[in-house]
């Protein structure tokens, strides 16, 4: 599903970020961890074809991401990537329903109201469809954002620090929902986190791939090393 070889990314004048070679099977859960500045978000952005690597090979679901044009990358992202950012970015001006339909608009597709209702129902928040984001609790908002992420049935679901502001019970619940949703849609799940509780919660999953990024020895910039290759839990 995900294959990287000698992946490098350069951010401005900073020393290059070097990433470990990984091979992730379809349907696995990837735990991406490392200190701030070690390149977690960059790795997610590389997978989402938002940025291109400086060197190295990057294949996701059989697609060589370096070969995509700008428009091609946009279309690929719309079709294959679901993204749950840490800050949820639900548009305050739009109802939950319309926030989700934005995903269709972004992909250049006609809005599918039926599909929106279905996904909201699956995540147990069907009754929130007509609410504004300001009328949602934190947990509700996260479910809505997750609904938006899985709406297009992505092959790859990327979650950035999904438990950062949650207490233990909520964190466990949130990760469980994420894992369930990924399983339901047969998506490979990548969770970027430095939260130990996430590892605990996903330990029950069949295929967990932990990737640990390190700061580079230079300090400010980062490099990596792959801590453990593939693990079977």
């Amino acid at each position: 599903m995900i294959e990287t070889r000698q992946l490098q990314f350069v951010y401005g004048a900073a020393p290059p970020l070097l990433f470990p070679d990984v091979t992730v099977p379809q349907g696995a859960v990837v735990l991406l961890s490392g200190p701030s500045g070690s390149g977690k978000s960059t790795w997610l952005a590389l997978l989402a074809a938002l940025v291109k690597p400086k060197h190295g090979a990057l294949t996701v679901a059989g697609q060589d991401l370096r070969a995509l044009s700008g428009r091609g990358a946009d279309a690929w992202r719309a079709r294959c990537i679901g993204f749950l950012p840490q800050k949820l970015y639900l548009s305050a001006a739009l109802t939950v329903q319309h926030n989700l339909e934005l995903a269709f608009w972004a992909a250049g597709l006609p809005g599918d109201t039926q599909r929106v209702r279905q996904v909201l129902a699956q995540l147990g928040v069907a009754e929130l469809a007509q609410r504004l984001p300001s009328q949602l609790s934190g947990g509700q908002a996260q479910r809505v954002a997750l609904a938006r992420a899985v709406l297009m049935q992505p092959l790859l679901l990327l979650a950035d620090e999904p438990t950062a502001s949650l207490d233990d019970a909520a964190a466990q619940g949130a990760v469980q929902i994420l894992v369930n949703a990924a399983q339901e849609y047969k998506a490979t799940l990548v969770i970027a986190t430095h939260d130990a509780r996430v590892a605990q919660t996903v330990s029950a999953c069949t295929a967990v791939v932990p990737i640990l990024l390190h700061l580079s020895p230079a300090g400010s910039a980062s490099a990596l090393s792959m801590a453990t290759g593939r693990l079977q839990a």
Binding site: S41, T42, L44, A45, A48, L50, V51, G70, R71, D74, A75, W76, R77, A78, R79, I81, F83, P85, Q86, K87, Y89, S91, A92, A93, L94, H98, E101, L102, A103, W105, A106, A107, G108, G111, R148, D160, E161, A164
Partner: protein, 401 residues
């Protein structure tokens, strides 16, 4: 939802900013609409009243005064000229038609114009009731006169001396209404028209002490001026000079005088136009700041749209659509405002059928208003859209909160 629908929602998600922008843009566009409409109305009125009159011959003095008094009926005439001198003009081969105009009396402020029936034919006036005069002391009323004074066929009235209301009344000489014109839209709506001989008769009867006196007055009959139509446009080169040098009268070309008048008014409209331009510029700046802030506030939202697969161009389109919605709403408000101002001005000044035509007008020049609105909005959107294009999605998604 479509791009337009999303843009509409985003626009009104910040209602105060949106309203302020609509207000500022509407004021600028409204002023522009007002100026365009007023100049259109004035030009229309001039065109209508001056149509077909090549030159006006009257007493020496200000040529503009001659046009304003004799054609537009807005000023007092510079004086009278002998009837014999005007009749002599008819012999000139360059002259196709002469319509005499005699001014001097009024009916409750409405001018009584002594003329010939050709005056009615010249303005293509149609009778709503009655007929054209066939004897002195019979009058045909303009539509506005008949309506406001409530006069109808067969009624008699006496004129007052002078061109404004309030002169002494020629009580012994009664005019009879024999016709009422249909509304025309031009200056003749506000005139009381009669035979030239009526005006002479009124004054000769008032001044003559005996028959001998009367004969003397008849020999000295005068008219105020004559409207002249040429046989050939080439006459414009020689005829006015001929009149000005060889007779004691002057010739004034309406087209020239009105151009001169509009030029003088033009200085005023230039200032107003600059003011409207300044308003529009301010509005554009405000729209720019609003969009700029909207892009800054929504950087995350916009980055997320990129993450959802929206090409940068579609996001640029979304912001542009927001600006165009503003332009559309403001253009509609501005046009409505401008039309309302013009109607209000006409009402306040009581200019009905004079300089302001009644009803709404849409001259071609008015298309400038929506075009300006779109231009200002698009101009204001350029930088914010460019900023949205440049935004670093990766960095935004790293923003923690």
């Amino acid at each position: 939802m479509s791009t337009l629908a999303y843009a509409w929602r985003y626009l009104w998600a910040r209602p105060m900013a949106a309203l302020l922008n609509v207000l500022l843009l509407s004021l600028g566009l409204g002023s522009m609409t007002f100026l365009l409409l007023v100049s259109h109305h004035v030009e229309l009125a001039f065109d209508r009243d001056l149509a077909g009159i090549d030159v006006v011959v009257g007493a020496k003095g200000s040529p503009m005064q001659l046009i304003l008094s004799g054609v537009l009926h807005l000023d007092v005439p510079p004086g009278n000229v002998p009837l014999a001198a005007v009749n002599a003009l008819k012999k000139n081969p360059l002259v196709a038609e002469i319509i005499p105009i005699s001014l001097g009396d009024n009916l409750q402020g409405y001018r009584i114009v002594g003329t010939s029936p050709s005056y009615l034919i010249h303005y293509q006036a149609t009778l709503a009731q009655g007929r054209v005069w066939d004897a002195p002391m019979q009058v045909v009323l303009g539509a506005t006169v008949a309506r406001t004074l409530g006069l109808h066929l067969g009624q008699k009235f006496a004129g007052s001396h002078g061109l404004g209301a309030g002169g002494h009344t020629h009580g012994d000489q009664a005019y009879t209404v024999v016709g009422v014109l249909a509304p025309h839209g031009g200056v003749i709506d506000r005139l009381v028209m009669t035979d030239s001989a009526s005006v002479w008769k009124v004054h000769e009867d008032a001044h003559a002490l005996d028959d001998e006196d009367r004969q003397a007055l008849e020999d000295e009959r005068e008219v105020t001026m004559a409207l002249v139509r040429y046989t050939s446009p080439l006459a414009a080169v020689t005829f006015p000079r001929w009149v000005n040098t060889t007779t004691e009268m002057q010739a004034a070309a309406p087209a020239l005088e009105v151009t001169r008048l509009l030029h003088m008014l033009g200085l005023g409209t230039e200032v107003l136009r600059a003011f409207a331009g300044l308003l529009l510029f301010t509005a554009g700046l405000s729209v720019f700041i609003a969009l700029w802030n909207a892009v800054r506030e929504r950087r995350g939202d916009l980055a997320l749209l990129r993450m959802l697969g929206a090409p940068a161009s579609r996001i640029g389109l979304l912001l542009t659509a927001e600006a165009l919605w503003l332009a559309l709403v403001s253009a509609l408000c501005g046009l409505a405002l401008g039309q309302a101002f013009v109607l209000g001005l006409g009402w306040v000044l009581g200019l009905e059928s004079q300089l302001m035509a009644t009803g709404l007008l849409w001259p071609h020049t008015l298309w400038v208003v929506p075009a300006l609105a779109a231009l200002v909005a698009l101009g204001a959107a350029v930088l914010p859209v460019w900023q949205a294009y440049q935004s670093d999605v990766l960095q935004l998604l790293q923003t923690k909160e």
